[in-house]
Assembly symmetry: C2
Homo-oligomer: 122 residues x 2
């Protein structure tokens, strides 16, 4: 079983954008982005924090998971897209999903990590 885990850590995101503080808007955006990327959501949970009002959200995928954390007071967002590749190579779908989410937060700076997981050769 091989998996691909992509992370993006965003800075310089406009704090007033609805996706930074509105858990329901972020939930709807994430679910649409998951579907548009050709991945399958099997559950989701989005939690708004009290002021300054960040949001933590996760979408359980048939292919593994998506996680989003926002910190409006820092203009920061972290994104995780983790897909397993049983039956199909989901790497391109994961990259497309991450790119959609990144673009929505209009960050000034993005730091990426890419981890291959569960590699029998590792």
């Amino acid at each position: 079983m091989l998996g691909l885990h992509l992370t993006a850590d965003l800075r310089g995101c406009p704090a007033q954008a609805p996706l930074m503080t509105d858990a329901d808007a972020l939930r709807r955006f994430c679910l649409r982005a998951v579907a548009d990327a050709g991945l399958q959501a099997v559950g989701e949970l989005f939690h708004p924090f009290p002021a300054p009002g960040g949001v933590t959200g996760m979408v359980l995928l048939a292919e593994s998971h998506l996680a989003v954390h926002t910190w409006p007071e820092l203009g920061a967002v972290t994104l995780d897209v983790y897909v397993c590749n049983r039956g199909a190579d989901n790497g391109a779908r994961a990259a497309a999903l991450l790119a959609t989410l990144e673009a929505a937060f209009t960050p000034a700076v993005v730091e990426h990590h890419r981890v291959r997981r569960g590699d029998p050769a590792a």
Copy 2:
């Protein structure tokens, strides 16, 4: 904002262990392990898949998140513990939580990754 993301990819886990297939048992175990590690759960969602019966579970933390995926048919489990370090260094708590979860699945082999996230110096 600095964060620490720990992953563990387990192989050789006994497939008949309840934590591999019983979503509610896995949920209870994870919530207890989170509390024992000194981290704070703010929500959780565990999803059982149809036969061969893996489970995907996530715990939203005040400090970020925990994710667990099991594949009983492969004897495989993947674990993520991601903590931000605002206000306190949660690295030791994250490591303790990961160690507790790893031990519970009694894997034959574990592959670890450790990613520092949102590092202003990166």
